[in-house]
């Protein structure tokens, strides 16, 4: 027995990887993401070198306004003399933190609700799906705004939580559809006859079959969470204690430096756009892995 045969999960992962490798978009996306991950990891370095490189509180005593890139500050400084490169690196950390935690939460919610709705059917199904419809049409950014109006300043984890609470319906609809078709399969019938409980059927028999699809959706959820947080910070409703890319843009915009300091305006926007693009490309490549129809289409040409 080879290693591959002994671990079916590893086997399917390797199969998927060999298909994924062929996709140019997927490769580019993955390389970009690894670069961003490196940025996030490196974000811990600058403050260790000198306290003036601290993205939030570090101020270069020799500088009083924003300065263009130079030897001391590779990407220049902002209006308070804070190092833009260290802010950019810290922004990568925040983006991953926000994106991945919001995505995981919304996927867990979406999968749980989708499977419940699909499996239970009837009243619960109708109720959950109407709820999904309702939440789906709500513009998340504006919902967070109105909540900020009522509750005042939101911290970063509250923002993540709200994003997750409003981004599950898309996933749950797809998972519900999958569950509905799985429910008709003989192996579920067999499990029922054998006396398996509802929760056992849902978690042991249905969940493994819908998880790959949920995983695909996660890449898209990551981007939408990053964008929502960035937009919120840009509008001035972000967590004032975090340095995110959206926050950097807000500082450029609000302090009126956008015309004078392109070296400050460009990097955060490029980073947000590129990280979105890379997750998007990753998602499309994973789509090809999971949907054999797309694959065949590409192979015949």
């Amino acid at each position: 027995m080879t290693v591959r045969e002994r671990f079916p999960l590893l086997n399917s992962f390797l199969d998927g990887w060999s298909i994924f490798k062929q996709s140019l978009l997927g490769r580019i996306g993955l390389v970009l993401l690894i670069l961003f991950a490196l940025m996030a990891v490196c974000s811990y370095i600058p403050p260790l070198i000198d306290p003036m490189y601290n993205p939030m509180t570090g101020v270069d005593p020799a500088i009083t306004c924003c300065t263009p890139p130079g030897m001391r500050h590779w990407l220049g400084t902002d209006f308070m003399g804070r190092d833009i490169l260290s802010q950019l690196l810290a922004g990568a950390r925040v983006a991953f933190m926000v994106g991945i935690s919001a995505a995981v939460m919304s996927i867990v919610l979406g999968v749980a609700i989708g499977m419940t709705a699909g499996y239970m059917g009837r009243f619960i199904d109708t109720l959950l799906m109407r709820l999904a419809d309702m939440i789906m049409v709500m513009p998340t950014l504006l919902v967070v705004l109105i909540l900020a109006a009522v509750f005042g300043q939101l911290n970063i984890w509250t923002i993540v939580l709200i994003i997750a609470l409003f981004r599950w319906p898309g996933v749950s609809r797809i998972i519900r559809g999958q569950t509905l078709s799985l429910k008709q399969r003989p192996f579920i019938e067999a499990a029922k006859v054998a006396g398996a409980s509802h929760s056992r059927i849902i978690f042991q028999h249905i969940m493994p079959n819908v998880l790959p699809l949920a995983f695909l959706f996660m890449t898209f959820r990551v981007t939408s969470a990053i964008i929502t947080e960035a937009a919120l910070a840009f509008l001035g409703f972000g967590d004032p204690g975090t340095v995110s890319w959206g926050m950097m843009l807000q500082w450029v915009w609000k302090t009126g430096h956008m015309f004078k300091a392109p070296y400050w305006l460009l990097p955060p926007g490029i980073c947000i756009s590129l990280i979105t693009l890379s997750f998007y490309m990753l998602g499309r490549a994973m789509d090809e892995v999971l949907d054999p129809r797309l694959r065949k289409e590409d192979q015949t040409d």
Binding site: L25, R130, D133, M134, M136, V137, M138, P139, T140, L141, L142, L145, I146, L147, A148, A149, V150, F151, G152, T223, I227, T228, A230, A231, F234, L235, G236, F237, L249, V252, W253, M258, F259, P262, L265, P268, G269, I272, S273, T276, L277, Y280, M281, E297, D301
Partner: protein, 325 residues
């Protein structure tokens, strides 16, 4: 007949959803920590005025009565007074609505039309250079961060080149001049609209292009396309008259599904370009703690989203006779 029934059912759904939103908003504003009175009554008002408003809004009564008063006020168009403007909220939001609708619908229609057209071209040249350029271009523009793109547009076209106004929707000298007629005024608004419209267009057309492209590729595999080819029809006729209309249907659905996303984008665009629309008013009122205005703007936006969703669904049902709900 079927269609009419379907529309009716969707409208009932919309009304129910709207009621839920209305109720949730009521509970949020009354039950959140802090003083609910301070959220509805301008802190700068004289005590007598404040008391009169409190009675009008039912803030001195139990929660159940307050809810009924809230509903009654909603249906009679009483949203209270904006703290910032000192005017009835309803006047403010009604004056902003047309501006938002103008910018929003123009951008959606324009980007959908161009997206469908380019998606058709991309699918027709599948695997060739044209296709790669269009697809990659669409991916890149679609993932640009909207507020940043807006800032770059202003930086480039207003500041560097000086071609377009930096902000606003009208030039005062044109609108205050009694001699300028309707055409001059419309041209002025269009001139101000170029940058916000291009920003929204650049962000949105890519999504429609990608959907149209993949939908076209699916459609081209259908039997009726083979039949059309077998009949010896010209390729152009097959593409434009047989495949494209069917392939465009998913684009209609995606317009509906992406409405919430577009509304977010609209609010951001309005804010950066200081376009006097509802989205900007919502952002502004939240930053000013102008609760009555924030609440009313949010409700109006929610209503716009819900109604547009129904419009899109009905359009879809009308365009595709195979679909009946």
């Amino acid at each position: 007949m079927e269609l009419r029934k379907y529309i009716g059912r969707r409208l009932v759904q919309v009304v129910i959803i709207f009621f839920v939103i209305l109720t949730v908003l009521f509970l949020l504003f009354r039950l959140a920590p802090g003083d609910p009175v301070s959220r509805m009554v301008d802190p700068d008002m004289t005590p007598e005025d404040a008391h009169r408003l409190k009675v009008e809004l039912g803030l001195d009564k139990p929660l159940g009565i307050q809810y009924l008063v809230y509903l009654k006020n909603f249906f009679t168009g009483h949203f209270g007074y904006s703290f910032h403007y000192g005017e009835p909220v309803v006047n403010i939001i009604w004056s902003r609505l047309p501006n938002t609708v103008l910018l929003f619908t123009t951008s959606i229609i324009l980007s959908a039309l161009v997206g469908v057209f380019l998606g058709k071209i991309a699918s027709w040249h599948k695997g060739k250079k044209t296709d790669s350029i269009l697809t990659i271009g669409a991916l890149v523009t679609h993932t640009l961060f909207l507020p940043w793109l807006a800032l770059i547009m202003i930086w480039l076209f207003s500041y560097k080149f000086g071609w377009f106004p930096i902000t606003g929707m009208i030039s005062e000298d044109v609108w205050l001049d009694p001699d300028s007629g309707f055409i001059a005024k419309s041209l002025d608004v269009m001139y101000h609209m170029v940058l916000p419209l291009s920003t929204l267009f650049l962000i949105h057309f890519g999504a429609y292009l990608l959907i149209m492209r993949s939908s076209m590729l699916e459609t081209l595999k259908e039997d009726y396309i083979l039949t059309a080819r077998a009949k010896g029809l010209e390729e152009k006729v097959i593409r434009d008259h047989h495949a494209a209309p069917n392939a465009a249907l998913p684009v209609v659905t995606s317009v509906g599904l992406s409405l919430a996303f577009s509304i977010n984008g609209g609010a951001l665009t309005e804010t950066v370009f200081t376009w006097p629309g509802i989205g900007r008013e919502l952002v502004f009122s939240v930053s000013q703690n102008d609760y009555p205005l924030a609440q009313a703007s949010f409700l109006l936006i929610a209503a716009v989203v819900l109604v547009s969703n129904v419009v899109v669904d009905v359009l879809y049902a009308y365009l595709d006779p195979r679909i009946r709900y």
